[in-house]
Symmetry: D2
Subunit: 334 residues, 4 copies
């Protein structure tokens, strides 16, 4: 049994709480949130508090889940490391690469288990594609494409705090590109603009991103903050020996044919519903690795690499030219 | 909160336990099974016993889930009624229509809430089709078809105790036919044979069943005990104004195209996986109705009607002619 | 080069004319129709006449295509045989089995090449399914299902002359059942009614037909005179080792996703458009066999067998019981 | 009736001959090819010659189809203009933009009808997408993507003469981008490389091309000279109000499910088969416009615009930066 304390009872916090409370290998000891949703927690019968010390100083808790707002992650991770807890932290570690690198040093120094919440790696579609590519189903990579579009744009104040589309949204796709191809990026070019929202003064909302990977193959990401038909998350890979791709996820597969046309319901449009199973799979993977003394499947290096790509994307967008990833790394002495 | 006791820790019992233990509106008090899987139960931290009295005589338990072998349902239901519990019972109530009718009398006399576990009514595909038909999406019914094929045949000893294909397997489809069309059956004709198993001496394994419904529309069921490509459960309905249908359920939607062909993984082949969400939805529905003093969504009458159709199917198969449902009902003075 | 004369310039006649006139191995000599569409023919620059002798007595014409109304087929075939022409005749040979048998005798006596126009055998979907089944792709047959629904019902006067749904429409599906399975039918049961037209006084318009084939496997046909969403022609076969099926044919594969749903255009709804390619493939096959002294791919026996099934279907419908095909054959001393 | 002479009896010439010879509104007078396939032509019974004068100097021929190798187009068009013929010319007019502009001047001066063979505009999938977009089905454009991959790479000597991938292959997609969006391109960025062929010394074979269109929306083209699974030609467009896309074309829609998986045949892999219907539709459109004194649907301006995009793509590839289309136009004083 792992003994868990959770920070944060927002949308993602609740997902983890529901998955943890039911798990035969988990003892959920405590939930901490200064703005806690007491009704929700009481109904579950879980101990709760507004004071983070009730987790950090409780020797019976060996594992923490950090599901609070992004700007608190850095502090909570540092405190968790110093309290020698096993750590699961939702993405991002931080928006500032220097602070992520600082966490990395601490993790290595203190030899702590830290997993980052790139939950899409545990989606059945993307996991299957990654597996098939690794097993050589399509041969040497030629063209990889990731389509990733939100259902509806986030509010303006969210975007202001998010670090912008590349650090907030594309970062999932940067991680997915590395996860699917198992290749690092050599260079990146971005063509981004503002077409679907009214906050063009603070951020872009639509982009094509082009990549050359280290094996010489090409890749692209298609991002948009709005897709009226649902949450659009698909991947397609062309290799020398074939093509592999997936469709979106739907509540049902019912098709209606009438005088007008053939139709079906739109894909799932809410990320918690769309990725419901991936959160569960992620948890299984976390528990398995903790209990078997394995390193985390998704460690801090994945967070660093994705953040570097986001910084390169931002620079390419600003300078309108191709950016070598090596040049970003050089800046940070990586 | 409803306070639940569960009988049975087999495959379906475990499904219900996992769904109940996690539910914010449920207090799972006790699990009873004479052959209990102690490791499973202990890991969950649930009280358990081998003695059914620990449920029946516990006044703190107001609700029972009966998930034991079919031949024990009749007794457990009767005892549950007499103990004035709220009852959820897996199908079938019994193989003998007379005993089901006896239970019905008792339920009505004691005014007890009894829900029968026709879980497929809560599948997202079938629920959507039923809803669309009721809302008139395809107009007046013309031809309804249910395809229902198991992945692999059950063992011979299971079949011997099951009551045969019509009472064990087709009964789900009889219920589905009534659920989808909201019509009763007028007559039935069966063409059944043995093609995919070696127990032709005790049961058929393949059948087409034809129906005339009370509104004059036609229907068919396609049953087979074996489908090597997965658990095959689909429905298609033709109406005067359109057609509606669904596909099977898959783990993922990944398609691989190589030199040979385009391919994807087979549909889910295990019923607990295929109907995982329908069990959860069924539980939500049960709790909602119990807490709101509604009658059960799936009451004993559904069990009676489906059993009558199974008896008619058996008779049609034996006599090789069309059977009027009224003739079966007359025998039981219904 | 085969030198062709065509009888009939109706819908199907025009299809054959267009395919023949362009064919490098065909010399289209003459078109005969007492009610000829002169504008159409003149535009093509083909010789034409209203007198059938201009074909029968022209020694330069070695091949005839009979595309006139059904009730003239019998006479034209007989005259063609006596004039020793190679014959392609649209279905049906005749509605009266005795007259078809008479033609068969004449064909055999005079050793004439006679092909019957069951064009669906040359459809790319059905041909592929037939080929895969023959090559064992699904193993031993278990359940075969043919769905065959017209887009809109024919007019009342057409139905009156057509011989009824079984002889006019289902007959294509009887032929398809034999073509797909390569098995003869042992027995048949029909559940037919009138649901989508107002000519219930003269014919049924909706039916499920059940079959036991000679190998013991089961089959069904779903017929309806009306399907508002298009011409619905699909086949699905379950074998011990797999399942094979096809979808309808569409003008394009474009899918539109908007706020409401995902949709596409309906399938093709006109049989000449739906089966455009099958008519071309049929012609290629005919020419190939003629030029290589092969027997016809679809000879008069196919017409006889399909007609027997139609007669059995009619009898089953009238008597509401299963009919042994052997009993029909016995009546005709077959 | 239009009276046609054809230059060229290669692959595409044969397609046009077959479509023209059968057409009720066409009188095919003469086929000219210095290396004529006599057997093919004789079998069709068409007059033929090796001397182009037999078309140019024949006053009975009012229309020419130019289907010869690309490097002869320029001369044949000029002669056809001077002979005042109606002209259909396969793409490209020429590889040299200056010579295309010269033809344009001549066409305008002599007021000749000249149609360019961008046949894909007449494909049922792409035509439907273009129509829906124009009718506002997806609203304002956001992201357009064209996937265009050949089945197998052309031979080295073909590539050497072709002008390279952008002028030979991508040019179809440049035209398609303009056809689908009805927008001109503002700027282009290319990331191209050599991954699937061994002629990296003379040309690239794989590319992502990014565009900003004049309405501010973004677009991309995915090109590859090799796709082992078939000829891969798809389009997907995201608009503010929806998404529209199409799949490839297949010979049949048959799906086989067995123990291993679900599979279907690959898409059509030969462009003449894939675009068979588009060549026919193109011809219908040509004849309609000629007979109704309309301007051609696809005039020389389409060829000029597509060629400019190819030149910009080449420059972007060489300079590794975004190219403004205006800068290319300025060079040619356009």
């Amino acid at each position: 049994m792992i003994k868990v304390g959770i920070f944060g009872t927002g949308r993602i916090g609740k997902i983890h709480i529901k998955n943890l409370i039911n798990h035969p290998k988990v003892d959920l000891k405590m939930v901490v949130d200064p703005f806690i949703d007491e009704d929700f927690i009481k109904a579950l019968g879980v101990s709760f508090s507004k004071d983070e010390k009730d987790i950090f100083e409780n020797p019976q808790i060996d594992t923490v889940f950090i599901c609070t707002p992004s700007d608190t992650h850095y502090d909570l991770i540092k405190k968790s490391i110093l309290a020698h807890k096993i750590i699961f932290c939702e993405k991002p570690i931080d928006l500032d690469l220097k602070r992520i690198l600082e966490i990395k040093q601490l993790v290595e120094k203190e030899n702590v288990f830290l997993q980052v919440g790139f939950n899409r790696r545990f989606d059945s579609n993307f996991r299957k594609i990654a597996k098939e590519i690794q097993e050589g189903a399509v041969g040497k990579l030629v063209q990889t494409r990731i389509t990733s579009r939100d259902f509806s744009p986030p509010p303006r104040n969210y975007v202001e705090a998010s670090g912008g589309m590349f650090l907030d949204m594309s970062i999932h796709d940067f991680d997915m590109l590395r996860f699917i191809t198992k290749k690092e990026v050599q260079s990146i070019f971005v063509n981004a603009t503002n077409l679907v929202t009214d906050y063009g003064d603070i951020d872009v909302d639509t982009a094509f991103l082009l990549f050359t990977l280290m094996d010489g193959s090409l890749a692209s990401i298609e991002n948009c903050r709005s897709a009226v038909y649902g949450y659009d998350q698909r991947i397609e890979v062309l290799g020398k020996d074939g093509r592999i791709f997936c469709d979106n996820k739907y509540d049902n597969s019912v098709i209606l044919c009438n005088k007008e046309n053939e139709s079906r319901e739109n894909p799932l449009d809410f990320f918690l519903e769309r990725y419901r199973d991936s959160y569960k799979n992620e948890l299984e993977d976390f528990i398995f690795n903790v209990q078997n003394n394995n390193p985390p499947s998704v460690g801090i290096d994945e967070s660093i690499e994705a953040t570097i790509l986001a910084l390169a994307a931002l620079q390419s967008h600003q300078q309108k030219q191709m950016i070598e990833i090596a040049s970003i790394k050089a800046k940070y002495a990586l």
